[in-house]
């Protein structure tokens, strides 16, 4: 099965990167779930939580306070002013 290549960047640092099965985000219009094969999209993030389901490991939550994300050929780039991993998922997924 195809995978999403997810990258989360904050203004002054790289937050997380890795492969995922699904990304769930909250936009200004409502929640949106992204699965592999999604059409190209550029959307504004609303303040709140993102959920990422990595290929390996447990689902993780990321708190963001505004930003945007783009989806392009199974590549998801999440750009936030401030992004914070909610639990200890970072250490197992590997921060770059």
């Amino acid at each position: 099965m195809a995978e999403l290549e997810v990258e989360i960047v904050a203004a002054d640092h790289h937050v997380w990167a890795g492969a995922a099965k699904m990304v769930k985000a909250r936009t200004s219009d409502g929640e949106i779930g992204i699965l592999p094969g999604h059409s190209p999209l550029l959307a504004i993030l609303a303040e709140g939580e993102l959920a990422i389901e990595p290929v390996n490991g447990a689902r993780m939550a990321v708190a963001v306070d505004g930003g945007f994300f783009s989806v392009d050929k199974d590549r998801v780039v999440i750009v936030a002013d401030n992004a914070q991993l909610q639990d200890g998922a970072a250490s197992t997924a590997g921060i770059h």
Binding site: D12, L41, G66
Partner: protein, 297 residues
């Protein structure tokens, strides 16, 4: 004669203690450059992503956004000057300010007024001394800029940009800062932040082509949110590069100051030794002359 030796001794002592300060500052700057460069590198993914997104929106929708369209007539321009808080960095601040003066001259010749936004105490001191007015100033932390500062600056200039000319608004925004090219080369540069120059780029290969994005909610709203962020990230990047440049300039300045101090100490030590020898010689010849006089009588 004794007085002369004392003067040289004092000079040697003071130069030695100054050299200690120079050495310490050089070491501090050296240790901080690495961190500053890492921060420049760490901010790159964000600014790359944002630049890509802005060009994606810009290339696909017919843009009619106040931040992108140039006004017919530019009457006032904002200039953000990024200098340092502290001196002892050689010509770092001076060259940025010189560049800013050149820009002012250029804008003036085009019939535009200039309103200044200053970063760093050195820039502030420069303007205060010449009793020139400026719109706002940010000081403190030029050698380790925070994203919050960049945000504040972006907010201030965007606010000025949104205001009409009659009420003190500006039609153009330039930023004068120093680009960190390498440890030895830092170039003062002028970048026009607003209105954006939308460059139609030729895609290098198939994979570089931007896909046809869907926008959520609407392209105009996406652009509304993106552009201020883009400006923030540009300003933040400029601040980070300026910080790295400042530290590199300081390190170089302190290195040559330390070397000069070493040279001076050497020179004064020689002079002191000559003076001491001259004193001894004189004393000897006085004693000899005295003994001769006694013998002769």
């Amino acid at each position: 004669m004794g007085a002369q030796i004392r003067v040289y001794r004092q000079k040697i002592a003071s130069t030695t203690s100054m050299r200690k300060i120079f050495k310490a500052m050089e070491l501090i700057a050296t240790s901080r450059i690495g961190k500053a460069r890492t921060r420049v590198a760490a901010s790159l993914p964000y600014s790359n992503a944002i630049t890509r997104a802005v060009s994606a929106v810009a290339s696909q929708s017919v843009i009619d956004h106040p931040l992108v369209t140039s006004p017919e007539q530019v009457r006032r321009a904002a200039v953000v000057i990024v200098a340092s808080d502290r001196g002892l960095a050689g010509s770092y601040s001076a060259s940025v300010l010189k560049q800013a003066e050149q820009l002012t001259g250029l804008l003036g010749s085009e019939g535009k007024e200039v309103s200044y936004f200053l970063v760093g105490r050195k820039a502030q001191a420069y303007f205060d001394f010449r009793e020139r007015s400026y719109a706002r100033v940010w000081t403190g932390g030029t050698d380790a800029p925070e994203f919050g500062t960049a945000k504040e600056i972006a907010q201030a200039v965007l606010e000025a940009f949104a205001t009409e000319y009659e009420r003190g608004g500006v039609d153009e925004i330039h930023i004068v800062s120093t680009r960190f090219q390498s440890m030895v080369v830092q170039v003062p540069q002028v970048v026009r932040l607003l209105p954006l120059e939308v460059v139609e780029e030729q895609a290098a290969s198939e994979s570089d082509l931007l896909p046809l994005y869907e926008f959520e909610p609407e392209p105009a709203q996406v652009l509304d949110t993106l552009l201020p962020r883009y400006i923030e990230s540009r300003i933040f990047n400029a601040l980070l590069q300026a910080a790295a440049s400042e530290l590199a300039a300081r390190q170089r300045a302190m290195k040559s100051a330390g070397d000069n101090a070493t040279d001076l100490i050497k020179k004064y030590t020689r002079l002191r030794n000559t003076a001491r020898q001259a004193e001894i010689t004189q004393e000897l010849s006085e004693i000899v002359a005295g003994a001769d006089a006694l013998n002769a009588s």
